[in-house]
Symmetry: C2
Subunit: 234 residues, 2 copies
């Protein structure tokens, strides 16, 4: 059969907003762009979609190239297609966002791309419309984290309640009451208490917890209320 012959074809890229938590701060992974235009400027990691790969597949490939990581949390965010967004040639970009535990993977970064982790709150200017993508990812993260247990994707397999709370506080740039916080978290039934304490950051030590994976997967899409007054914080 014929192709749709009269139509114009476009480049399709995927761009990844890669966020990581190191136990204290939320960070974003950026690369120094290797091609013109804007060579040497900071940019999201991205790449062109290849003839035989799907969009999710392309995003996973790009992530793997950069971080050596596979099977981390990733979801499609939004597609950007303003005609002028890439000045060289019109490119439609499908943005993905990725959450990972930064403590584990810090050192595995590919040298090839001159990648660097920046504080999400204070990162360099980005090329094209990447800043808009990052803003959208931030607001989506806050929105989703207020309703679903998505932030666990940023933590190690075992973690303490204080660590979890710091993460929430970092994401929402605010402080929560630890009594209410722990009650709310525990009431979800998502956490299993381990018989082991983290003793680095305090004398008393804080119990480790891990996710109840089955419960987590089964209830991930349920609407919970992790955040006291979400509308003030989103």
């Amino acid at each position: 059969m014929n192709k749709y012959s009269k139509q114009t074809r476009f480049l399709i890229a995927v761009d990844c907003i890669i966020l990581g938590f190191d136990g204290a701060e939320l960070k974003i992974l950026l690369i120094k762009r290797g091609l013109e235009p804007e060579q040497g400027k900071w940019s999201l990691m991205g790449g062109f979609v290849q003839p035989n790969e799907g969009l999710d597949e392309a995003a996973n490939r790009v992530l793997l190239q950069l971080t050596g990581l596979d099977k981390v949390y990733m979801e499609q965010l939004h597609s950007f297609g303003e005609p002028g967004r890439d000045p060289i040639e019109r490119t439609i970009s499908v943005a993905y966002f990725t959450l990972l535990d930064l403590t584990k993977y810090k050192t595995q970064l590919s040298q090839e791309f001159e990648a660097e982790w920046f504080l999400l709150k204070k990162h360099p200017k980005l090329i094209f419309d990447h800043e808009q993508m990052v803003q959208l990812a931030k607001s989506k993260l806050r929105y989703k984290a207020s309703l679903h247990p998505i932030l666990f994707e940023l933590l190690a397999d075992k973690f303490t309640l204080p660590q979890l709370q710091s993460l929430f506080e970092e994401v929402y740039e605010t402080a929560f009451d630890k009594r209410n916080f722990s009650r709310k978290i525990m009431s979800t039934g998502l956490l299993l208490k381990l018989n082991e304490k983290e003793k680095e950051s305090s004398k008393k030590g804080a119990y480790y917890y891990k996710l109840d994976k089955k419960h987590y997967k089964a209830n991930f899409h349920n609407i919970l209320r992790f955040i006291p007054n979400p509308n003030e914080l989103l």
Copy 2:
């Protein structure tokens, strides 16, 4: 400057999931596909993105062509790019979904496309991955409507509480208690009571309400709780 010369270009389409409410039932607008492959089969309305238009723009153009309507509620849903999704040539499709008041626009449909409104619950088989798009739109609609006043986009400027409740019941395929429903709706402060009754569907007549537009726009993104037990219904 040079183009990104070694990369493959692809067709980009937009496909619109157009939902309407006629006061009683939720419907979806489908067209008989005009081109091969699958000519004559039912399909979402779509079209190829043109060289100088953005994605949103393309979606609006497609919607305008089909319905004569402009400025109705529309948002980007998701992009679909599996290599085999269109058997003729690889096409990435950006799906949009649209909500409109069906009572107003029923008759303005373009003849050119042989469009028809179907019950959302019971529509014909669709080509390609359009069924998947419709399913995603349905679940997104339920999700979003449980948290945001999005369903008002499906109603006329003035409407009665019973009409609004029917709409919610249609969307969630369940029944709600009218006392709790009206209390919840009214407590949002989104509605203004008019001094006028709808007398078609009852002897007593039901008061018309309209949206408080300012309040609506300002609070649209706030998280509300329209639905009693959303997790059972999503």
